[in-house]
Amino acid sequence: MRPRLMVENAAYRLEGPLLFLHRSVEVGYNEAVEVVGSDGGARLGRVAAVDLDTLSIELLESSSGLGLAETRVRFVGEPLRFGLGPGLLGRILDGVGRPLDGGPPLAVERRLRIDGLPLNPVARATPRDFIETGISAIDLMNSLVRGQKLPLFSGPGLPHDRLAVAIARHARLRGAGAGEDFAIVFAGIGVAHDTADFFRRSLEQSGALSRSVLFLNLAGDASAQRLLTPRFALTAAEYLAFSCGKHVLVIMTDMTNYCEALREVAGAKGEVPGRKGFPGYMYSDLASLYERAGCLRGAPGTLTQLPILTMPLDDIGHPVPDLSGYITEGQIVLSRALDRSGIEPPIDVLPSLSRLMKGGIGEGYTDADHPALSSQLYAAYARAVQARLLASVVGEDGLAETDRRYLEFGARFERELIHQGESRTLEASMAVGWALLRRLPAGELTRLSDAQIAVHLGAAR
């Protein structure tokens, strides 16, 4: 067999996303191919299995319009790569990195595997740089740090896009690094046209478009391509962070669309479905995306991820949020109930969590009393929600005096701390937090030291 680049008339079966060929070339598993149909359109694919006589190709873009007769396959001889170079920022690309903005082709300085490689844990540096997002529920209660992957768990119709844009606009370090802006990589995965437009316009209005690159796989685009979009976007982000030394913020929306595409493709390949029809390897697959975030020892750039996913039926136990939560470093959960009562952003702090918060706040990072304040607010708000539950059954009159105080605290916590018109500095968020705690009896504040009570709450007692 002579190695050949282009193969014709070898296809003998086409089944869903799988194209079967008689083998006439030396090819390796998982190497990239380009499949050109009689329509002239080129589609990306990869070698899914290969034996002595045949091979199967998984089409990574739509297979519709393909036939057997005039299909040609070009073998690349290596896994799928994305050519990247200077001039990336400011561009708008499709879901697989082809220009959509009428601009020139991308300059290519390096060609990187879109699957990336696992970061050696030993090469990672612990993320510690507090990012001020301007959102109290995040900054004060679930702090984000540079190099973290912190998804928004939202629901259909909730204002997650607005929140993501607000964060992208405000996101900055405090103190010395305050001047540095993030480069923004936006991956729209199966998003509606108006969502994509909203992000583009918002970035434009805030002057951030020139430091952003957009990858758009729209709702109308082939669903198989959705599996590639975050990979292309993350490859670009890694290039910007680890080759160009930038601080990169990646917004990926909507990861639920990604997972649905994964389910669809797995089904078409005839794989055994797991929970809710999603494939059993979805955890590892999602991890291969989410784990592409972090800081490297001795490297100037960092990669921070802010994926967005919509929880089907607002169910946090659904496989998409559930598996995501097991991989990401926390989650910011949006609540329909809060949204209905006009709280904006409607962040439910109880199920929310930032796992890397502890390393980036407190003495020497934000404020020495930040951890205790946050912990006390959590304890109190959890009590308040409990009291609210109790009151909904036995009525407010059936509550003990302390529980009534908590009830009032809970309402104020939502209206005054979670709800906010404009961005707040961390100091402003903390001031609201202390003011709220003044309304509770000192005996209840078991998460604060005597000194903290004296300094911050003393005036009221």
Binding site: E78, N120, T126, L399, A400, T446
Partner: protein, 592 residues
């Protein structure tokens, strides 16, 4: 060495035609990069293998080479302080920040060897033939299954860990070559002379574990909990502080940042008991969630084999595995690729027996060499949607003796560790009761009449916490106001136990670790509080009056405020408690 030739490849599974003999489970080198793999089935001259690394680029015609041995790892003193991937290849000292397939094995470490036997001496499995200097002196033992007369023994000096230093000839004339390190197949448990019962707990420094749900040395414990409930932080707290001689920490399918953080923290810690750097007693095995799945399946066996190896040195070893669910999922994924029939939840039918085999490797033993050693296994479980009825959790409950169930409501209120007193249990509690009596006697002196011991206090705490759940359910129907004073007092006492004793932040400088003696003092103090509170109630004081006592706040914060050896502060707190109740008694008396 046998050869085969790839005929089909897809993902981590390949079929190859063999031109020599292969054995089931034989370790393989595959393709030009010599990727690691393992034979999973044989049919005539066709073999099916799984590859532990990224197989991109492998093609029909590529070579498969068998090494003649099942998947094995090199064990030796050089493991301590290291961090390895799931197949025990070192992650330190790699130039690139990324891990690529075809990574090399560990460079062979060199050690200062001193012989301990003479030519002609008769050695059995477990006999010591030499020693290696180091932070902890390492004993070179005759591996299981080898024995005989010493034919040759090396002189003192520096040697590589695989150099032959001692040769034995056994009764049938076979020769055995021994080195500082030894190679052992990971799926085979290392034998011991005898399994022994255990009456000593593995002290973890976590109150809720040691005092309420202890695990014995050689025991097995599981930590099930949904995401964010505190599995990893709890395991890391144990890695850092528990009273074992050697810790094996397995990050199995979890986050890279967590592993990096653990490595960083352990490097800075000093073992309070030995005064040596904590890293010297720790071996880290990391297969993060983005590393190859097939290697994840093997990683748990590598880790437990390392644990057994140090056990055989006469040491107490604890293995923390985070998370066993990711291991089970890897098993499921590989099984699916092999086309096996899926059982419950898609897991292969042998999930239960594999879990049983794993946990069975926990034991307190008399080693072949006659020493006492133990392997304690502690695994986290990550049930989907936090639902404990799923297969991995439900199978695990059948094999572990200590069960630390994490509760999402506690975690959401940032009440840590979020171990639910109601859903958790320990079958080792009875066994360690007399050990605890010893601690109580040491910390508090002779037991005065009427003072409860550990077992009574533990039972009292647990009953109270169970009662709390019942009463809270009741209050949800009738309202708290409608509860009897006795019941309201029960709720108050339970809250105090929760706040003062069960809550223990892993990040609190004073409270991250709580030694048994401090635990004993705190338990006794809380027992005293309950006694006094009940007496006050009997004399007519209201639960609300008890709740308003000034001592309540310092009592509830004693974990955070009173450090490890501040006995005086606890004594002062007890005095304040007595005074407050005396005052309350007087007020009630005056009112009557």
């Amino acid at each position: 060495m046998s050869h085969a030739c790839i005929e089909w490849i897809s993902g981590p599974v390949l079929r190859a035609r063999a031109s020599g003999p292969f054995a089931l489970r034989e370790a393989l080198h595959v393709g030009p990069d010599r990727l690691l793999g393992e034979v999973v089935s044989l049919h005539d001259d066709l073999l099916v293998a799984q590859v532990y690394e990224d197989t991109t680029g492998l093609r029909p015609g590529d070579a498969v080479v068998g090494g003649g041995l099942p998947l094995s790892i090199r064990l030796g003193p050089g493991l301590l302080g290291g961090i390895f991937d799931g197949l025990l290849r070192p992650l330190q000292g790699i130039d690139s920040a990324f891990v690529a397939a075809g990574m090399g094995n560990a460079a062979k470490s060199r050690h200062d060897f001193r012989p301990m036997v003479r030519v002609g001496q008769l050695l059995e499995p477990g006999s010591e033939f030499g020693r290696v200097a180091g932070a902890r002196e390492h004993r070179c033992l005759v591996p299981p299954g080898r024995s005989g007369q010493v034919l040759r023994i090396a002189a003192a000096g520096e040697y590589a860990e695989d150099e032959v230093l001692c040769v034995l000839r056994d009764a049938v004339g076979r020769e055995h070559e021994l080195a500082i390190g030894e190679v052992w197949p990971v799926r085979l448990p290392r034998p011991a002379a005898q399994r022994l019962p255990s009456d000593t707990p593995l002290v973890t420094g976590q109150r809720v574990i040691d005092a309420l749900f202890p695990v014995a040395l050689g025991g097995k414990a599981a930590i099930p909990g949904g995401f964010g409930t505190g599995k990893t932080v709890l395991l890391e707290a144990l890695v850092k502080a528990c009273a074992a001689d050697v810790i094996v920490y397995l990050g199995c399918g979890e986050r890279g940042n967590e592993m990096a953080g653990a490595v960083e923290e352990i490097a800075e810690l000093v073992d309070a008991r030995s005064g040596r750097p904590m890293s010297e007693r720790t071996v880290i095995v990391a297969n993060t969630s983005n590393m190859p799945v097939a290697a994840r399946e093997a990683s748990i066996y590598c880790a437990v084999t390392i644990a057994e190896y140090f056990r055989d040195q006469g040491l107490h070893v604890a293995l923390m595995a985070d998370s066993t669910s990711r291991w089970a999922e890897a098993l499921r994924e590989v099984s699916g690729r092999l086309g096996e029939l899926p059982g419950e939840g898609g897991y292969p039918a042998y999930l239960g027996s594999r879990l049983a085999e794993f946990y069975e490797r926990a034991a307190r033993v008399r080693t072949l060499g006659g020493d006492l050693g133990s392997v304690t296994l502690i695994g986290s479980v990550s049930p989907q949607s936090g639902d404990f009825s799923e297969p991995v959790t439900s199978h695990t409950t059948r094999y572990v003796r200590s069960f630390w169930a994490l509760d999402v409501t506690r975690a959401r209120a940032r009440f840590y560790p979020a171990i639910a007193p109601l859903g958790s249990y320990s079958q080792d509690a009875e066994k360690v009761a007399s050990w605890w009596s010893g601690v109580f006697a040491e910390a508090l002196g002779a037991v005065a009449a009427g003072d409860a011991d550990w077992q009574a206090l533990r039972r009292r705490f647990l009953t109270l916490l169970a009662e709390q759940t019942r009463l809270e359910r009741m209050a949800r129907i009738v309202g708290k106001d409608a509860l009897q004073p006795q019941q309201r007092l029960t709720l108050l006492c339970a809250e105090v136990i929760n706040e003062a004793f069960l809550r223990q932040s892993a990040y609190s400088p004073k409270d991250a670790y709580c030694g048994p003696q401090r635990q004993a003092r705190m338990m006794r103090l809380l027992g005293r509080f309950m006694d006094r509170a009940e007496a006050a109630l009997a004399r007519g004081a209201s639960p609300e009056a008890v709740a308003a006592l000034p001592v309540l706040r310092p009592l509830q914060r004693m974990g955070d405020e009173v450090g490890e050896n501040q006995v005086d502060a606890l004594v002062a707190l007890e005095a304040a408690l007595e005074e407050d109740f005396a005052t309350l008694g007087k007020e009630v008396g005056d009112a009557a």
